[in-house]
Symmetry: D2
Subunit: 352 residues, 4 copies
């Protein structure tokens, strides 16, 4: 019962089989492997974007930081939500890769920026000419760090604000598929048709071993991406193993199935917790993560029973009255089972 993160899960059997199959004979290194050609074609097809350039890296931080670096100058502000992963969880990787950009933080409930808040933040920045950092780019995290989702229309509304200022838009889609399957939009509608210029398209958290695609819808900065990827140490010599993962991930809808399952497990868990006396959701459960508060006694039983997850914020005291609620983050993944969910709920409830 590991709900600590979706990255504690293993790779799916399909992904592992693809890696094993790729381990035959010689293959040209550094992305010149034939599988990468197939991956590129498949991504273009899925996104209905025949001009898009596609690159693979192995970590989400690399995908995001490199994407930002090709979209803004060092003196450009990156507008993102206060709880964006690039702000909170990457040790300043965007600042490093961009050469010192400033992340300007936008407010909004449940880790979602509102168009108005975004507009205010942009309008406030760069008003004094050379004295200020300039308006650089907008980064949208979808699904968000609080388990919520922007619909395609909401993405388009944010992107419209960005475009109104001539700013490019990045989407941190480490959990893109979880967001996508939460609604009815197509991949194209969720991204370039809504105004997204570059997508970090995550695989690792959704069943891969370690691969993220960076999809550059406007390919004019693609060569710069290649140089920055190499310079950042993110161009793999045995690249075929990245290609193999992504190829299997996108084949026959695996990526969608995995995300639907994870979202469903989170929904099951969320409903179970919400039904507990005194419990409440801290954020709506729209993707594969549950943010909820419930009685301290329930947490104690869960931890004693072997469940793994994080109190969120993690510095809440375990000492205290049984009935007082503590907030937690519980993340479901492709490998979470209904039995896992029910076992956890059982522990929390303590009915057994």
């Amino acid at each position: 019962m590991n709900f600590a993160s979706d990255n504690t899960s293993a790779a799916t059997p399909e992904i592992m089989a693809a890696i094993t199959a790729a381990n035959e004979g010689a293959a040209m290194p550094y992305g010149k492997d034939p599988a990468m050609d197939r991956v590129r074609a498949k991504v273009r097809e899925i996104f209905e974007a025949p001009e898009a350039e596609v690159y693979l890296v192995a970590t989400g931080t690399a995908a995001n930081a490199l994407a930002c670096a090709i979209l803004t100058d060092p003196w450009g502000a990156i507008f993102c939500h206060r709880n964006a992963h690039i702000e909170e969880d990457e040790c300043g990787a965007p600042e490093f890769y961009t050469g010192g950009s400033k992340l300007v933080l936008v407010e909004g409930a449940h880790a979602r920026m509102t168009p108005d808040a975004l507009r205010r933040a942009i309008a406030f920045t760069g008003r004094s000419g050379v004295h200020n950092v300039q308006r650089g780019m907008v980064s949208i995290t979808n699904a968000t760090e609080h388990g919520t989702v922007y619909s395609a229309a909401e993405v388009a509304a944010l992107a419209a604000v960005a475009k109104g200022y001539g700013l490019p838009v990045h989407m941190d889609g480490a959990r893109f598929t979880n967001a996508l399957v939460a609604g009815n939009a197509s991949p194209a509608e969720m991204t370039w048709r809504a105004g997204v210029d570059v997508l970090s398209f995550g695989g690792t958290k959704n069943g891969c071993m370690g691969v993220e695609a960076v999809v550059i819808f406007d390919p004019k900065r693609a060569w710069e991406f290649e140089l920055r990827r190499k310079r950042g140490g993110h161009l793999f010599s045995k690249h075929r193993f990245l290609s193999a993962q992504m190829e299997a991930y996108l084949a026959e809808g695996l990526w969608l199935r995995l995300a639907r399952h994870a979202n469903a497990m989170a929904a099951r868990l969320s409903q179970g917790i919400a039904a507990l006396p005194g419990a409440a959701l801290d954020h709506p459960t729209e993707a594969n993560a549950v943010f909820a508060r419930f009685a301290r006694a329930g947490h104690r039983r869960a931890f004693d029973g072997g469940a793994t997850y994080y109190l969120w914020p993690f510095d809440q005291p375990m000492d205290g009255p049984d009935e007082d609620p503590l907030s937690a983050r519980l993340v479901a993944s492709w490998s979470t089972t209904e039995a896992d969910v029910d076992a956890l709920l059982g522990l929390i409830r303590g009915r057994d």
Copy 2:
């Protein structure tokens, strides 16, 4: 018959088996997996360095650039051979990670620095106080980019020059094991006993899928390494797959056997080429790469017969007299067979 590079080879069966075995259940991410503890212990044992800190990344460029970044300030010169990988093949990754260090190039035949040339380069740098870049660090590539090897004594002689100026020493050991098995020195003698402070200890080119260890013999900069690794996007969430590779690589001497085999195949090829009429070695064959020149007709037959390798430099014209020699680089790996070597030699000779 792929002699283009050791990174065109697959992963060994042992490595693949370890990856498959690691793909079970949940594991804590970001290097907190138990296998990493075993890897750390094993590296310390192999290097007789109980204090050493050990970190894993997935590319050699990341290992080298991060290692440089913890050893020198932005205004410190990195002294290395003109043909070092960090100078020639990393698109400026050391400059990026260090924040703008200058690589000061040292001469020496066969891609090996001499202590005298190193001393002159260091002595010449930083003589004018604040006006110059300062003396920062020394980086030694072993095995070298020209297939030669520094003995432990030669490493010690270079490191002594560095230490005479108070400079730390990095070893780019993307092919460390190939260098190690070429002589009689122990891992400790080849590294920290000789004066090496940080080692990039390669796995990828020697049979792994994609893993390099950075061994920090003096652990006082280890925390800085961890921060720089994260900030560079090189901390893996599903880290267990890096750990699994390195654990299998170091188990039961696999790493040594793989390198001995690759070196032996290179020696076999080297001897075969050297025996050709009009052929000559451009550099001594001491590790797993052959740098040799032989008749253009032999190259034509090899390429026509399906062999893959690079002319070196690659811009030599294939048009021209049959008997005129062209230089080439041919790299053997763990997966090169005697039959591969003999088939290539047969093509070159054209006896069939």
Copy 3:
């Protein structure tokens, strides 16, 4: 009647005389001029800090950015007020010089951080180990960008919070003297005795032509400062002209007299405005800048009469009802006269 900024003023006669006097014969360049030795001694005496190192640069942005760069690593957060000059008016110079630090913004009325708000910001940062930017340093702007002043006790309270977390403290003292003369503290009490490690000690805004001293109370990072200053292009060859300014500035209390005068002119202006019907101060007038709101008609009369100053924020519409107030920033300098103030007040009042 120029109240746009204290940097629209000329240099004082004493400063200009010193520059002229320095323009004789040869002088060794790059800070080796004898006048720099006298400046260093004088700063040490004034600050009762015989160990302090002192360097001169020509702009406040250089002083601040270089100071930050020697106090924090690239992955360290710089805690400062949301309205700090380093956040709002330096186009990301701190990010550039530090190699990508993140400025973490602290709240507080009238551009003053409170110890509690600072503590919360620090406590919130760097809780997740390697995943977050780390706690780096605290920067205090005194006088603030809103014309208020921290007392020595208030500086000490903020520095105590910083020191509780082991963080160094920078003071942006572009208007240090204006802050100093607003209270009774000595230079030492306002800085190192309160816990300040590095001071940007401004001259330009207070009557110099272009010179700022960086005072490093703990000299162990002084050599790094020298290297960063040179590398940043801020080491002057004809350094004697910086030394001459600072020497004259500190001689016979000129710096204090100039600031007292500027503060007095601001106070006179502030009182005059506050007495207007419908007018109000936006921030207390504690140094040499007045932030106040008064009737639009008053602004129109002032601008029509030739006064220069900025509406603050500057995008308030001049069109609108006469009686509706607009906010403005009006800055006094050493060269502001009582006649200037009274003339401006007369225009605003429209009594003439």
Copy 4:
């Protein structure tokens, strides 16, 4: 008798008078002063470049490093002579401002690149696609660091090589006027007509207090320059004092007269030294610096007599046989007099 450098000299009376005259009343800061408009117009007139953008900074290192930063990406190589100032004397400022470019060193006698050597260096760089640093820009130092001069035709020949590879050209003209007056070319012929895109146009070494113009002949990167200048801390608030210097410098041919005088003094000194028994020039004397060797006894007499200059290289031993020659650099400036030269020659000769 100070021949240590042209930057040990004072400012000329005309420059000082202009600074004094500028010290009247209020002036808008940050380059918005009216004098800057006049400077811009004058530079455009002198260079016959009505589209050129012109910016002022206070140090040559700032001018050069900022110029490089707008001409090359971080992964672009800067091709320059091994003895260029940007390589030898700026503590890595170009690397800092560009975000980690690599300076690729070109050979050539007397600190002058030859077109062939430049072509070879460019051709060798960036041949392996993403694995290498790319070809970025060419920087030409004129006058050179060894007191020699490129003619306009020689500049054009180098620039033609650069343009053949699509590379922009920077000229480090810290001593531009000394180079210009050494030949018959116009400012336009020496720069943009020859293919120079950005010129660092020095004032400080040729009689100013501290001002350098950056002339951007193709203005499309001008805004980037403005942002980088601010971000680097090189935008002066009391900018009028930079403008005043440059305006006086360019008025009525002062800049040309000063350089002609300095060159003439160097020629007089050079001829005098060359006539000494056993003496020889190390480099031709074409601008305002003499590089020559003469008997150690002559150096002893000169130093004993109060002369100031540098042995070059500076680590030659003063102990040794009287007649053995030591090499030196002796720099003349606008303030060097015939009497100074003759007095120095007299000391060296020991005739008195």
